[in-house]
């Protein structure tokens, strides 16, 4: 965070920190999109029946195709001795890999019970990498709910991937964060038009052993929840680029400009590249924003996307912010967006869900962004809601999705107007 920055928006506002019941997913949930994004990867959770049930319930609400994830469910006998656990995992992995010979990357994912009984997955991963090298690369990370919430699972996964990458002095740009394929393609086209040559994205769709990082690697996050990955990149000597996150016309422009500045792209060239898509996005947002302007919105903590999205809704759609809650705030990552929020916004970190529910009823906002467990109960009490998880699963980044993003928030409000039957 720049030292001489003037006091702006919510950048230095007091944050309401709460430590009560959290109503959020654990990091294992990230596997639901990571396993689709990474086509040669398999995620093996070492956990309990609860973990398996969570994955299936979180995923089952949305998909039911052959998954590239599974759970090695701990049983009574596994709780007794450690040596046993290693053998058991070895057996499970060989069973799995014989069924799925197409797998190149295997992630061993720690869970609450595996952390509590201290199964050392990193040692297991090392041994398995030796055993299956060079066909399969085995990496471990933790998605446990005692350490991670929801999207932090992707962060932990990427952090582990970054740690495994070789070093090089190549001058390049790394973009961190899983994006829907079509959005990633749009982003790569824009970066190419700006004249950037060596660009790679993590996570990779397919394993590529060419990827390396070092002091001449510049990197930028496309998702605000990648705090640990950010720090790991810095530790590896890479140079961070910080900006607003690429939501909406303005957010996207500022994100791209930060990269352009770092790579000495001229303002003239930049303007030429972004002018048309930026205008297109602004016009498209304007058509949707009329339904949002002047309406109030409340964010429950969920995916850590809350602060950048709140900026988009306030600055580009004219919404009024009440409380913006986030499970965890990486100030170094969201500083720019935080600084752009109206100073009157209540920022909260962590959660005490019952108290937060009291507050949402006090605010009585026009729209409440919340998790799946809260949405229907709030709807039944007359609040319009937007399920936060849809924001993680939909293409919402960059210019061409800006209006879609606004529409996601407008639809519940529109529905409330359309429905003429009362519950």
């Amino acid at each position: 965070m720049p030292k001489d920055a003037p006091q702006l928006g919510c950048a230095d506002s007091p944050i309401l920190k709460e430590r009560g019941q959290h109503e959020v997913f654990c990091g294992l949930t990230s596997i639901v999109w990571l396993h689709r994004k990474m086509q040669d990867a398999f995620f093996l959770v070492v956990g309990s029946r609860t973990c398996a049930h969570l994955l299936q319930s979180a995923a089952g609400v949305m998909i039911f195709a052959e998954p590239r994830f599974a759970t090695a469910i701990l049983e009574e006998t596994d709780l007794a001795g450690m040596a046993d656990a290693h053998e058991e995992l070895d057996r499970n992995v060989s069973q799995l890999l014989s069924r799925r010979p197409d797998i190149k990357r295997l992630f061993l994912v720690g869970s609450c019970p595996s952390e509590v009984i201290k199964i050392d997955l990193s040692t297991v991963a090392e041994k398995l990498t030796e055993k299956y090298s060079p066909n399969v690369n085995v990496i471990n990370f933790s998605g446990s709910g005692i350490e991670t919430t929801f999207t932090q699972g992707e962060d932990a996964c990427l952090e582990a991937v970054i740690r495994s990458l070789p070093s090089s002095e190549k001058t390049q740009l790394a973009v961190l964060g899983a994006l829907p394929d079509i959005v990633q393609d749009q982003m790569m086209r824009l970066l190419e038009q700006l004249g950037l040559e060596n660009v790679f994205v993590l996570p990779q769709v397919k394993f590529d052993d060419d990827v390396s990082i070092g002091a001449n690697t510049h990197f930028i996050c496309v998702q605000p929840f990648l705090g640990a990955s950010y720090e790991e990149m810095v530790r590896r000597g890479a140079q961070p680029i910080c900006a607003n996150f690429p939501f909406g016309a303005d957010g996207t422009t500022r994100w791209l400009w930060a990269i352009a500045e770092r790579f000495d792209v001229s303002k003239a060239k930049f303007d030429k590249v972004v002018a048309a898509p930026k205008l297109r996005a602004e016009q498209a947002i304007a058509a949707v924003a009329s339904d949002l302007r002047g309406k109030s919105v409340f964010f429950f903590p969920d995916s850590q996307l809350e602060i950048p999205l709140a900026r988009f809704l306030a600055a580009e759609c004219g919404m009024e912010l009440t409380e913006v809650g986030s499970p965890f705030i990486h100030k170094s990552l969201v500083y720019a967006d935080l600084a752009d929020l109206p100073a009157t916004t209540q920022i909260s970190e962590g959660q005490d869900v019952d108290k937060q529910l009291d507050r949402v009823f006090d605010y009585n906002p026009d729209l409440t962004v919340c998790g799946l467990g809260l949405a229907n109960p709030l709807e039944s009490k007359g609040l319009s809601t937007k399920w936060a998880i849809e924001l993680v699963f939909s293409p919402i980044h960059f210019y061409e999705q800006a209006a879609d993003l606004a529409s996601l928030f407008a639809r519940p409000l529109k529905r409330a107007d359309l429905l003429k039957v009362s519950t």
Binding site: L74, L372, A375
Partner: protein
């Protein structure tokens, strides 16, 4: 460790939440990390409940483990009591909290709350969801139920329905109608819809109706022993089972001539001429034990299907399911491994699967129609319309639901007769389904129609025979292929010709 892709049951604490969520004025404090709060969405999204489950999760984190998770539990309990003012508090631990051994029961006891507290033992690494529900309700009953004077008129309790149960909402409504038609009063329905004071009052009923053995049997056994309340053993799903159920009630109550007071349309629908196309269709049945036994009986005795395989995922029901399987000449499959179920279905190549949402998925992969008869289920299995499984209306619903995925009557014959019609192909599924493919898509697909190439033996299919095999409708093609290959191997035939195909057909003709 057990490698698992999908599971049929959640952990036992989810069973406890199903009981608590079904009841009123009850609160559950669960010692659990934040991830376990996903369970709320099962109720609010899948079942579309408009209230949060009455559960406080302590949501301890890694940093709490080193310090004091016990006092976190105590303050959560205390806060939950003050905020929700329940008449009964349940306390328990999920899988992770079980490992840190904080003793929620002892901690809650120490708070000295002015309401009854039930401490739940939910062994997460041994037992599963149904056990959790059954055990939770049993402990509540044990704590609260006391001897009461019996009601003046003959009455019963309906035992077993919970939140998130497969069609529990409608089964309760249907069974209440059935019972009232018999001139019997319903005293209490529990756990779903009851509050702690109702549980105290269970003893006023003359007997109990055990609706769902998976979630209510321990409570019924306890009530039989301690309050001398007999309970019904037959689950009234299907016409025959309903009749047996009423006969049980006659025996228990001494009432007579109750049988003709209920009627279903199923017997006539099965007997009507259109339903001959159902006769002898090969079905595979999988789900929870009670629903599987009910479904197998309906399939065999009330529709005229051939049950070629059956099984259940809950080991608690292994014995009765095995025994019932024997009467059908089937070895029951008792497993929680979805891949094993898929293997069995693929091997048996049934024409219809009666299963859970897992089998619906298997059916989709294998191209076999599937109707859902048991939990675990998806959001579309909580329909807005009234659709019980129990009672006379339940039998009607079952007939419709099972027949719906099938290719109907004459259509099946036409498909067999005019296999080459480019606009009318079995590869597209029954024509009354919305997913029926338009002709243009169908044409493109025809060239790569699935005749499985691989074969287990060393026989070779001649081109003509393979072409002929394609003319056999898809729902029996797999079986025809396997039978022909087996016939070829048994008779020392190395190359399968059209003749071999028809020799095998004659050989295996039923």
């Amino acid at each position: 460790m057990k490698l698992s892709v999908w599971t049929y049951e959640g952990p036992p604490h989810v069973g406890a939440i199903r009981v608590a969520t079904g009841m009123e004025k009850v609160h559950l404090v669960l010692h659990a990390p934040q991830g376990d709060t996903y369970a709320d969405l099962l109720f609010t999204m899948i079942e579309r409940r408009n209230h949060r489950p009455p559960v406080t999760y302590t949501t301890f984190q890694a940093r709490d483990l080193g310090s004091d998770t016990a006092s976190l539990f105590k303050s959560a309990c205390h806060d939950a009591y003050n905020r929700f003012k329940p008449d009964l508090l349940l306390v328990g631990a999920s899988c992770t909290a079980e490992l840190i051994q904080d003793d929620p029961g002892g901690l809650a006891e120490a708070l000295d709350l002015p309401i009854p507290v039930v401490a739940l033992e939910l062994p997460s690494y041994q037992r599963k969801e149904n056990f959790g529900a059954d055990e939770t309700f049993f402990q509540i009953v044990k704590k609260l139920a006391t001897p009461q004077p019996r009601t003046e008129n003959i009455s019963c309790n309906l035992i077993g329905p919970t939140a998130l149960g497969f069609r529990h909402r409608d089964d309760v409504e249907e069974l209440e109608k059935v019972i009232q038609n018999l001139g019997i009063e319903v005293n209490v329905v529990a756990p779903m819809g009851s509050e702690p004071s109702d549980i105290v009052n269970l003893g006023a009923a003359h007997f109990n109706v055990l609706m769902y053995p998976e979630t209510g049997e321990s409570a019924c056994r306890y009530l039989e022993k301690s309050l001398e309340q007999p309970f019904t053993k037959t689950v009234p799903i299907g016409v025959g089972a309903l009749s047996d159920f009423i006969a049980e009630i006659e025996t228990i109550t001494g009432l007579t001539n109750l049988q003709n007071k209920v009627a279903s349309r199923l017997p006539w629908y099965s007997a009507s001429v259109d339903s001959t196309y159902l006769t002898g269709k090969r079905v595979f049945i999988f789900g929870d034990g009670s629903h599987v036994i009910s479904a197998a009986r309906i399939a065999k005795d009330e529709i005229g299907f051939e049950v070629v395989g059956l099984g259940c995922f809950n080991r608690e029901m292994a014995r009765p399911v095995r025994a019932f399987g024997k009467t059908l000449g089937c070895e029951a499959l008792i497993t929680e491994d979805y891949l094993e179920v898929e293997g069995a279905i693929s091997e048996l190549a049934p024409e219809l699967i009666l299963g859970t949402q897992m089998e619906r998925h298997i059916g989709k992969r294998l191209g076999i129609p599937c109707a859902v008869i048991s939990a675990p289920v998806h959001v579309q299995d909580f329909p807005a319309r009234y659709s019980p499984q129990m009672g006379p209306e339940g039998a009607n619903v079952i007939f419709d639901t099972w027949v719906h995925p099938l290719v109907m009557g004459l259509e099946e014959h036409l498909l067999t007769m005019f296999r080459e019609d480019f606009e009318f192909s079995d590869a597209n599924g029954p024509s009354h389904h919305a997913a029926h493919q338009p002709t243009s898509v169908q044409k493109e697909n025809r060239s790569e129609e699935p005749v499985p190439k691989e074969n287990s033996s060393n026989v070779i299919w001649m081109t003509d025979a393979e072409k002929e095999l394609r003319k056999i409708p898809f729902f029996v093609r797999g079986k025809a292929k396997r039978n022909t290959e087996r016939y070829a191997v048994d008779h020392g035939v190395i190359e399968i010709s059209i003749d071999t195909l028809y020799e095998a057909k004659a050989h295996y003709a039923r």
